[in-house]
Structure formats: structure tokens, C-alpha cells
Amino acid sequence: MSEIRSKSAQTVDSPERRRFVGAATATAAGLAIAPGVMLYQVAHGKADEQGVTSAVRWGMLVDATKCATGCNDCVSACSTENGWTPVAESKHPKQAPQWIRKLELQDPLTQMETNLPMMCQHCAEPPCVDVCPTGASFKRADGIVLVNRHTCIGCRYCMMACPYKARSLVHEPLNDTQKPDVPRGIGCVEACTFCVQKVDRGDGTTACVEACTAAGHNALVFGDMNDPESEISKRLRELPTKQVRADLNLNLGVRYHGI
């Protein structure tokens, strides 16, 4: 904003502009009390009237070595938080919306079993956004991939395009069973939102992560991958992690350890 104003109003080296730049620098310096101590933090203390920025990129680390067999806590926490009916309770389980699901994999040669939750991977280059004919499928500045239900026409191209089968279509009317924080409805595609309502509230975590931590497994870590001091960044530096279908070069927001 300030840059645009200075460019349009004055020439590059006008005294007006110099005064403006000087003032701007002084303001910026004023925000830092001492080196390293800032009055506000760009990453997490987002003011209500401030939009999200690409200074943050939300991501998740899944430690499959800690993910317990038979535990479904992340899935039920997601369904409780976001108001989708658990697939087991649904009348039509084959077409029931599912934002997160537990996978149990077995290596056919060694019989080794791996547990992991699978959900929207919040790609930096999301194929679902590429194919959406109305622009309803979009990536927010902070890396969260969402569906704008106001523009979604329910064509399901994105469900076809997603390599992770992460999206579902709501086939049935929901009859006012939605959570006030999580609007969702018939004829729209939906998927994991990284609990965007919680993130915007400043919780800095998601329902599945809370549930996993509460159950004592600590297999999930959520945080800002752009902040080198965040727990997720530290863990990603230490642990060898993989992206599922890394060959697609989508730069995923969800990273797996132990798969």
C-alpha cells in the first residue's frame, strides 16, 4: 500500500518520497523494542481485521511410528469439531463425507504394518484448484486449501483431480445440523480445512492434533512451516520425512515420518 502510494504520487528521488521512506523506517524501528523483541509478531497474533498472509504456511507433521493401531481419535475429533457424521453412523457409508480417515497399510513382503491418518495434504500447487471451473476451490494465502461453498457447483472435478482422495461431496441435506463455525451443505464438495475456524481464532492447533495429544500418542504436530522456531519446523529439521506421491511435485503441507 505504502509502496504504491509513493510510486504513483512522487518521482523516485523526490524529497517527498525521501521524507516518507524515512518516516516509514522510523516507524518500523519503533516496533522493535530491542533486537529480537518485537511489539507484535507477524505470524500468529493476527488482528481480527487483518487478512491472512503468505508469511505463514500452515502444515502438519504425521509421525506414523507413533500412530496407534485401532486408535480413531483424530477422526472422531474432526467429526465432532466440524460436524460431519462419522461414516459408521451414516445411512450411506459409501458416499458419506469424510474429512480424515485412518489407513492401515501392510508391506506384503515383510508384513510390517503402518498406521496413518490421510486427509487433504494442503498442496502448495493444488490440482483441485487447477481444475475447478468456477474458482471455488482455492488456496488461502497461508497455504490452507479450501472450497468456497458460495461458488462451488458440485461438479466434483476436484475430487477426480485429488491424488489423495481427500475430498467428498455432501449428497444429503443436512437439516440444520451444521456447527455455527463450520457451514457445510448439500451439493458442495468439502475436505479437511486444517480447522480454519480454530486457526483464525488463534488456537494454533487443530482438533485432530488436540485429540492425538490428549490421547498421549503425540503423532501429530501442527504449526507454521515458515517460522524456523516453530515446533513443526524443528521436528521437520530433525526427522526424515516424506511427502505422499512426492513424484507429483505438489509441495505438500502434510509431511509423514516413518512411512
Binding site: G51, V75, T80, F138, P180, D181, P183, A207
Partner: protein, 162 residues
Amino acid sequence: MSKMQGRWGRMMGLLVSAVLAWGGLSSAHAAAPKPIIEKAAKGEQCVEATDYMRRNHMKVLNHHRDKTVIEGIRTKQHSLKECINCHASEKTGSVAAAKENFCVSCHTYAAVKIDCFDCHSTKPQTSPAMRPLTVDGAHYTHKVAAQTGIGIAVEEMAGAAK
């Protein structure tokens, strides 16, 4: 010429009687009754002037919805959630569950279909312990309730277990 006059006369007569009939009808059946608008349970004054809101609430809401969905700006002033928090009926706890509820009363009168509530909840937010218990969610809901210090009744847990 007299034939023409006769035709004109007949047409005029028809017109006059039609006008009279219409006038009679409309005086017999008055315009549709004005909607009774429920007063907001909480709060004294809307975020904007009432006249402005009656005409422009959708402009305001549509603008805010784009800001919220795309940019993540969740200010309270023009948010639909806050409208619902304030205007939910004390009887039904909703803005659109019954005919006399806030949104529905006017929209029925104006014959304008609302599709907001195909996706949005018509009820205000309740505390985590108030969420309906399901078998799958019970475990987690209990944990959350324990953390917030709000208990869940034993009967409620028993109901969920069934």
C-alpha cells in the same frame, strides 16, 4: 357511426365495471398482513441503522462473506454468525426454524427464498459441553469438557452409550 358509438359505449362500460370490481375486491381483501418481526433477544441497536439493514443486509453480508472465506478476516460487525447470535428466537433458539422467526417472517412476506441456511446453522454457538453426544464423539467431547472445566451429566453419557 352509431354502431361505432355503441361499441365504444360497451367497451367503456366493461372497463368501468372491471375497475369497480377490482376496487371492490381490493377493499374486501386488504394487502397481505405485515410481518411481525421478533425483537432481537440480546442487544438494543443493530450494527447498522434498521432502515439500511432492511434494504441492504445482503450487500453487507455478501461483502463480509468474501472477506471471511478468502482472506480469513473474521470481524464481528457484519458477520452472519453475530446476526444469528442476536436475532435467534427465544422460543426456538433459531432464526429460521419457525414461521415467526426473524429471517423467515420477512422473507415469507416478501416471497424471497433464503438459501443461507442450506449450509449455515440457524442457531447460535453453544459451549463445547453442550454439543450433542454421539458414540464416536463421546470420548473426545468428554476430554474437551474436562479441559474446559464444564462437566457432562452422567445421564447424557449413558444416553450416548445406548
